[in-house]
Amino acid sequence: MDNTRLIALIKEGNDDVIQNIYADYRDEFIIWANKHHQCEYEEGREVFQQCMVQLYENVVSEKLTVLSSGLKTYLFGIGKNKIREVREVERKKRIEVKGGEVTTEEKLLHESILDKVEVALSQLGDPCKKLLELFYYRKMSLVQITDRLDYKNTDTTKNLKYKCLGRLRKIYTGRN
């Protein structure tokens, strides 16, 4: 399959393609990360998953529309940067421990907001949860969502989207 088709399928939200890419390159990446960056097995696996997420997000946000090099080169390139980031975070943590610094309040606040939204989403349940994820994370159009969730037309999907968002906000804030 050529890269243009591959990108189009990822953008359509084709999980089989994403799974195939994951299965094709996971082991090779873990071995490469161990050989060149001394990553332990579990660390290599986690970094590779982050690479896949990055690949997916770059495709759906249209930051990546053409692969000038191969898919493997692209994925391993992301991996190299991710490993560097992991090392930097570790080094920073060591310095923070030595210096007695603590995690910033802003960071904690941000994390608690994300946790709270996650809880609200699970209370909201499907199909609203699915619809909002398809729109805001998977960046699908209303036409694609209508087709995927088998709604009547895009107007129905659009109305439902705002009803769901309103309901989520209500759960999240505890207000009407």
């Binding site: 299965a23 071995i31 161990n34 610094e101």
Partner: protein, 249 residues
């Protein structure tokens, strides 16, 4: 749709830059005079980032399921990483390394290499802790856009935005982050000139980066002078400064 849902639709379009210029202005005006609408806008931003984070988490969980259900892991195939790596090939390389060791050693300890090595070990872009950014900044101001590119490490894009920003806001932290952008782009002389003008809350940080910049320029005297000041203080830079000073002596 009820009024609340209509407001959500309007704000969603506003935050995603999908409204016409006239509609955008109308929303901006409403936001200025309606505190309740501003609250909804902030909540919507939080919800969107929460939905994105949950989507990411779902994708990771899906991959974990693929690991356990579909495709056996290397470890489950009974193969340890150590066995996968071709150790025999390393013996040949090791011999080659021993032969070349002394020539590499002399090259490695030259001033230029020492500068590169030290700089590479300690230089890390300073985190943006001043201006929160999000994925879509198209409707935000100059400052947010500058820091958005900074967060993405897109320094070529960030540089002109910071330069423009400094013409309207000459704040200490903006100059500091601009200095870091210049360092990331390896414009070392300009970085020194900008960072040396930073004062107040960011002096320590600026001096740390100036020291690294001086090391990279092989100006070890200047680097030592800055590092000694950092070493004497009680900041988180103190230990690193001590380490580098030992290596420079």
């Amino acid at each position: 749709m009820n009024d609340q849902e209509r407001d959500l639709e309007l704000l969603d379009g506003f935050l995603s830059d999908l409204l016409s210029d006239a509609e955008m202005d109308k929303v901006r005006t409403r936001l200025e005079v309606e505190p309740a609408l501003r609250v909804i806008k902030d909540e919507l931003l939080q919800l969107k980032s929460g939905i994105e984070a949950a989507g990411k988490k779902n994708l990771m969980e899906k991959m974990n399921r693929w690991d356990s259900n579909v495709n056996p892991l290397i470890s489950e195939k009974g193969t340890e990483l150590g066995n996968v790596i071709p150790w025999r090939a390393y013996i040949g390389w090791a011999a080659l390394l021993v032969v070349g060791f002394f020539s590499i050693f002399s090259w490695y300890t030259s001033d230029g290499q020492k500068a590169k090595r030290l700089y590479g070990s300690y230089f890390k872009v300073y985190d943006n802790i001043m201006v929160p950014t999000q994925r879509d900044m198209s409707d935000e101001g100059l400052k947010q856009r500058a820091f958005y590119h900074y967060d993405l490490r897109e320094y070529q894009e960030a540089r002109p935005l910071f330069e423009q920003l400094l013409t309207v806001d000459n704040g200490e932290y903006i100059r500091f982050y601009y200095g870091i952008v210049l360092m990331a782009l390896e414009d070392r002389e300009k970085a020194e000139s900008v960072l040396s003008s930073v004062d107040s809350d960011f002096t320590l940080q600026a001096n740390w980066y100036r020291a690294l910049n001086a090391i990279r320029q092989k100006d070890f005297l200047k680097a030592k002078e800055l590092l000694r000041k950092l070493e004497e203080g009680e900041s988180s830079y103190s230990n690193n400064a001590k380490e580098i000073l030992k290596k420079l002596d």
